[in-house]
């Protein structure tokens, strides 16, 4: 009899403890739920806004192209690596007719992207029809751990329509001397 009462008492205690625990859990849930919902709402709103800004960015890109870079006089210069381990690029400067038009310092991610076949648009601008000079100055670490600075020049004929010039960097063993090759995209 005593044992039964003890058991009942224990059950009662457990059930009270369980009720307390449940109440605490519910209270915690009540406290946490609005916070989580607010954060989720905020995240959803931010994502919605980011999507709208991205749409606007597309429109602005097209508008910028129309206003700033008429295709007939447009010149774009792109940079690629001819081979994955050719060079570890540090910086590049670009001059059109001796006027500096672009310079770039490379981050690790950008270097990695170039090594994986990424293409960088170095410059987009306008020049009149006729002959022009493009000069590139690069600093880089070569495969045999030398830090080098090299310059290369390229003369090109600006014809009607957009001109797209590719600047391709290469360096081969054993001397890993950087070579800068220019070609025009058809």
């Amino acid at each position: 009899m005593v044992a039964t009462e003890q058991a009942r008492g224990a059950t009662g205690r457990v059930s009270r403890a369980g009720q307390n625990l449940l109440a605490a859990a519910v209270a915690l849930l009540v406290v946490l739920t609005p916070t989580l919902t607010v954060a989720d709402d905020l995240n959803a709103d931010i994502n919605r806004l980011k999507a709208e800004v991205a749409d606007l960015a597309g429109e602005l890109y097209a508008l910028e192209e129309s206003i700033l870079h008429p295709a007939d006089t447009q010149v774009a210069v792109f940079l690629t690596l001819a081979r994955k381990d050719a060079l570890e690029l540090d910086s590049i400067e670009l001059f059109v007719n001796d006027t500096p038009v672009s310079s770039h310092l490379y981050s690790d991610r950008e270097r990695q992207s170039l090594q994986q076949g990424g293409v960088q648009q170095l410059y987009l601008g306008n020049v009149p029809h006729g002959e022009h000079e493009l000069r590139a100055v690069l600093t880089a670490r070569t495969g045999n751990d030398r830090y080098v600075r090299r310059e290369a020049e390229h003369r090109f004929q600006k014809r009607p329509g957009e001109s797209r010039i590719q600047l391709s960097l290469d360096a081969r063993a054993p001397d890993y001397e950087p070579r800068i090759l220019f070609s025009e995209w058809k």
Partner: protein, 560 residues
């Protein structure tokens, strides 16, 4: 002959300059579009890939806009990545699902889809995607997918299955991270530290194969501290000391390693060496875990070495240090309330404002940086900071575009206000000049010259015909000029309205995001203050014990 060549070159150069001047007057505008062939698609994909690496996902999106669809898998893949980075998960998901049917990015797409499903709480879906990524992916993609699968198994409380998955991984960062997590699960389940220690040793070996220096060094420090702590708990002090001594001094984990190193040395009754470690740990800001214990340890070390006077002084110094830190934390909380956590904790940590903590460098010893690093360890803090950071980035982007649009609009209006008449009247003059130049080219071409001169003349003639063609169509293009400019002004106006509306939305959301960050930061500061109060309590107890002991000693001595 030489003189002829020189003359020829000089004349050709003059012709080029003249043509350049004429050419500049006859430009016409057309929109740029990539031709729809395979080479162009691969170029777009390569350009977008670099844009993403350079942190310009919006540019990558704009580039891939016209080339979406099934034409190029690579373009669609880069577009999906850009969509993910600009928060457009739903749009990205469609493209990623299509990638699963393709050839080149199936593994990568499955990995991203798995992470999306995991974030949404769809564990079964995530597991399926990760499995696909592990099966179809290569290199880092496959390793990440296996790591994610192992993490899901650990979440499901199945460390054995996780271990089996980890065993199939290549040595490197992801395998090391996986084994570290496995060690964490084992250490909560097991009564002794044998299995976690083995897992940590494997993780250490795996991390050695990671080629990326920074993350590898950070992970290795963390693994060493964990392995050392487990060895200390196992009372294998020699091994623990060995692990701690490998932690580099410039690591985020160094203060904790120094404190535990002291603890292991003290356990071997080498109090002098222990105090040297704690003394070094005390040089770091109290924000780092282990530093407040190191202050306390100094007093304890003197106490155990029998220098009771110095022990008292050390406890009092610890006390003063904790009190001072509480003042600093109070100031920080006040600044968060006044200026917001974004400025007080994040922006100012990168600035040169050295007055707040009288800091003179941005190393680990700077308290502000220490609190920032400590704060950023929490998931809630990372999310809150990331939200504000994204909105600040959006505002900067929109402000820049707002300014550009205003400049373009003004310039276009000025061009609209300028009558094209002067250009029209000068057309006849330009045509005459072009005619004269053509005659000069023909005269020069009749002279004997070397190949380079002939090439130059040929180029010049080509440029001249381009200019003449442009001149011929000038009237027609001039007639359309005003309509085209007006259309551009209308587009700029519409874009400007759009930008203004988006900026006001950004401002509202930024306010909400910042107040959410403030709440998280204030809770963090409150926790830090509690930690200091607790440490203060401990030193006061130690001081009370010490004085009690000294009083009893004095009484005993008096009794004798």
């Amino acid at each position: 002959m030489n003189a002829d060549v020189r003359m020829g070159r000089s004349a050709a150069r003059h012709l080029r300059f003249a043509l350049a001047a004429v050419g500049a007057l006859t430009v016409c505008g057309q929109s740029v579009a990539f031709a729809g062939n395979a080479t162009e698609h691969s170029r777009i994909a390569a350009l977008a890939q670099f844009d993403l690496a350079a942190g310009q996902p919006r540019l990558a999106l704009a580039r891939t806009e016209g080339a979406q669809g099934a034409q190029s898998e690579s373009v669609a893949w880069q577009r999906a990545r850009a969509l993910m980075e600009t928060g457009q998960v739903a749009r990205a998901r469609d493209l990623l699902e299509r990638q699963l049917q393709g050839q080149t990015h199936r593994g990568d797409a499955a990995l991203v889809l798995g992470r999306i499903a995991n974030t949404e709480g769809n564990t079964a879906g995530a597991s399926r995607y990760f499995d696909t990524a592990a099966r179809l992916g290569f290199g880092e993609t496959r390793q990440q997918a296996l790591y994610e699968l192992a993490a899901l198994k650990l979440e499901a409380d199945d460390p054995d299955a996780a271990g089996q998955l980890l065993a199939t991984m290549e040595p490197g960062y992801w395998a090391a991270l996986g084994y570290m997590n496995l060690a964490g699960v084992y250490s909560t389940r097991d009564l002794n530290a044998a299995r976690p220690l083995v897992a940590l040793r494997v993780a250490l070996a795996m991390s050695e194969q990671d080629a990326i220096g920074d993350r590898s060094a950070s992970l290795r420090s963390q693994l060493l501290v964990r392995a050392g702590y487990l060895s200390y708990l196992q009372e294998d002090h020699e091994k623990a000391i060995g692990f701690f001594e490998q932690v580099p001094l410039d690591s985020y984990h160094t203060p904790r390693a120094l404190y535990l190193h002291g603890l292991a040395l003290a356990a071997r009754d080498n109090h002098r060496a222990a105090m040297q470690s704690w003394h070094r740990a005390r040089k770091y800001p109290l924000a780092y875990p282990g530093v407040e214990d190191a202050w306390l340890g100094m007093g304890r070390g003197y106490d155990l070495s029998g220098y009771l006077g110095q022990a008292g002084e050390a406890y009092l110094a610890a006390n003063a240090s904790y009190e001072s830190e509480r003042v600093t934390l109070k100031k920080l909380a006040d600044r968060i309330n006044d200026e917001g956590a974004w400025k007080a904790l994040i922006v100012d940590a990168r600035g040169d404002d050295a007055q707040w903590f009288l800091a003179d460098s941005r190393t680990l010893t700077q308290p502000r940086m220490a609190y920032l690093l400590q704060f950023m360890e929490g998931t809630a803090a990372q999310e809150a900071v990331s939200r504000v950071s994204e909105l600040v980035d959006l505002e900067l982007y929109l402000a820049e575009k707002h300014q550009h649009l205003n400049v373009w609009k003004t310039s276009l209006r000025e061009r609209l206000a300028t009558a094209p008449g002067s250009a029209g009247t000068s057309r006849a003059g330009l045509a005459d000049r072009a005619e004269t130049l053509r005659a000069q080219i023909q005269t020069l071409a009749q002279r004997q010259g070397d190949r380079s001169v002939r090439d130059e003349l040929s180029n010049t003639a080509e440029t001249l015909s381009a200019v003449e063609t442009a001149l011929t169509s000038l009237e027609r293009r001039l007639a359309k000029r005003d309509a085209r400019l007006a259309a551009l002004v209308r587009r700029a106006d519409a874009a400007l309205t759009n930008v203004q509306s988006l900026r006001s939305q950004v401002a509202k959301l930024q306010e909400r995001a910042e107040s959410s960050l403030d709440r998280v930061a204030l809770a963090f500061v409150k926790d830090q203050d509690k930690r200091m109060a607790f440490a203060l309590d401990k030193t006061e107890q130690q001081i009370a014990h010490l004085y009690e002991y000294l009083a009893l000693e004095t009484l005993e001595r008096g009794g004798r």
